[in-house]
């Protein structure tokens, strides 16, 4: 598959304590230190901890400094930097399209090629989802765009290290 050579982003898996305000602390740190967030996904892993997957813009600051500043937050327990090789990276997108009725089969074929799912379809509307590597989402979306995307929502990437 097409994976870019020089990463323009870094992916961090950040384990945090489930304490009130922890997301504000992380987001506030990025804002005040001038680090740019590409995407952020967060949910509890158990009673005590949550995992935040942050994709950061590699241009905005040295990744080492971003990791060290994050680590200073008292509620941040662990930070792992994930590379495409070392991690399983997934993202989901929901797309609603208004299309030329004659194009529906073509679009269905395209979505199937990415192992996406058509959630429902009318004569001139399509609703679909794809859960895959974020770059696959980028590819699919760029191919769908000429057909007429009405609305879309991406979740932001989530990631954990691969089995060795």
């Amino acid at each position: 598959m097409r994976r870019s050579q020089m990463p323009s982003t870094h992916t961090l898996a950040v384990l945090v304590e489930n304490k009130a305000g922890v997301l504000a602390r992380v987001a506030g740190l990025f804002a005040r230190r001038g680090f740019n967030i590409e995407s952020l996904a967060v949910a509890p892993t158990d009673e005590r901890f949550s995992r935040i997957t942050i994709v950061v813009d590699a241009q905005s600051a040295p990744i080492d400094q971003i990791k060290k500043q994050l680590d200073k937050l008292i509620n941040v327990v662990d930070i792992v930097e994930l590379s495409t090789e070392s991690a399983a990276l997934r993202e989901m997108v929901l797309v609603r399209m208004k299309v030329d009725p004659g194009k529906v089969p073509e679009i269905e074929e395209l979505v199937e090629g990415f192992s996406g799912t058509i959630i429902n379809a009318t004569e001139d509307h399509l609703m679909l989802s794809l859960s895959s590597h974020p770059e696959d989402l980028d590819d699919l979306l760029s191919q769908l765009r000429p057909f007429g995307i009405e609305e879309l929502q991406r979740t932001g990437a989530i990631a954990i290290p691969r089995i060795e």
Binding site: V16, E17, G28, D64, K68, I74
Partner: protein, 576 residues
Amino acid sequence: MQMDGGQALLKALEFEGVEMVFGYPGGAILPVYDSVLESGIRHVLVRHEQGAGHMASGYAHATGKPGVVMVTSGPAATNIVTPLADAYLDSVPIVAITGQVPYGLIGTDAFQETDTTGITMAVTKHNYLVSDPNDIPHIVHEAFHIATHGRPGPVLIDLPKNITDAANPDSLMTWKDPGPLDLPGFQPVLDADPADVTAAVKLWTEASRPVIYAGGGILKARGAAELTALAERTNTPVVTTLMARGAMPDSHELNLGMPGMHGNYTAVMAMQEADLLIALGSRFDDRVTGRLDSFAPDAKVIHVDIDPAELGKIRMPDVAIRGDAKRVMAAMLAEFGSATLADHGGWRSTLSGWQENYPLAYESAEPGGKLKPQMVLERLRDASPKDTIVASGVGQHQMWASQYWQFDHAYTWLNSGGLGTMGYSIPAAIGAKAGMPDRTVWAIDGDGCFQMTCQELITAAVEKIPIKVALLNNSYLGMVRQWQEMFYENRYSEVDLGGPVPDYIKLSEAMGCVAIRVEDPDEVEAAIERANAINDRPVVVEFVTEPEENVYPMVPGGKSNSEVVVPPFQQKERNQ
């Protein structure tokens, strides 16, 4: 034991060994203040909450114990934002307790509600909003631990009124001594990796122009003795930053004094020409480095800091050592063993040549002219006990104080280095004196700074904390005026403080101080002696000084340290 949250807070403070709190009461913190009456902790009632914050800082720096500030919600909480930011940038361990509206009212724009934890997130090391009074003992315990361990800093605890108010059933709690700490995300590393120490020592033995760049972290780590030992063992000259003044005696021949924007010529140039900088608890602040891309161009760097985020943040080190400065210095000393170092003879003679040609110096006043501030500080230094604690404001007077005082003891210099907070000196001096009542404490203040926080002299008078203030009155916001003179073609904009108002003598007397005005050079010594002899109330000595005196040397903002400007009379000598 059953109690309410207010009682639990005081008990928790006592459990942490707190002896003194600087604060100001109000609605949301009222129940806690009711418990203050029963407590053995001394409460110092300030006149503005900002003062309480700086007092806690001054107390902490002078005593080595965390300072505590306690105020109500809303405007009181926002009034301590400045001292929190100040303590955050200068890594001072303080714990702030703020009242908050009852938990159920949070988010409703209730009277005196502010989002205190939200507002202070960026200026504290950590903060807490407590929802259950049973959490008070362990949260207070954690707060003190976090404030004082690793890189120290301020921690805030926001206490909603419903959990402290005895009249509210929400406040009922059962006291339990805090158990073991459970902070998986806060595990400071104190001891260096031995391989890094070995690598550092190797670089050091090879260097021919080494300089120790000593920062405030050495004082936080209580490593002053190790610094001198390490400098002596390696025969390496030391520069002490604004935050590290006193970390090594100024009288020591290896101590070159303060580097940076207003550092002395030798300290500035020593860093600039070094082939090795050993940065110990310092952070390559822009006021030290000047223009970064031309800073110390030939130097390799060993950087020691307890905060790993400082390593490589500004200047990439050749050897980065994460650890407590005191322990790392001890490890380095051990690692040196009987190693021999490269010869520094040439380097030392370069340095003494600079010292001879460009000493810190000023031109004496013309006969009948106004007092020179530098002369006043020299006299004050010579007439005061050697271990006098000095707290300064921010401006020209701060730079002269750092330059002309002789700091031969650690923890005798208090100032606002990172934030540059005007008004710091009087409250910080009060905090230091409250914690160290047997020491002489002088606030060295500017007239602009004095007008920001002088009301705390009422606190000093009423609470019987007899500090002394040397007010260097140049009737200007002098530091700003100097920049306007040098970089804005003498276009003075809003820097004239409009003397003779206020009358500092009447003002100080009205606040319960003894006040002395000095205009004649022959009266300087007598006034200082009189002030030093007064121990039952605060004293203000107003020195009316030369208004247009400038601070030299100076590295103009954004310029390379190599372009350091020496005073005009030394420039002439240079051209001869």
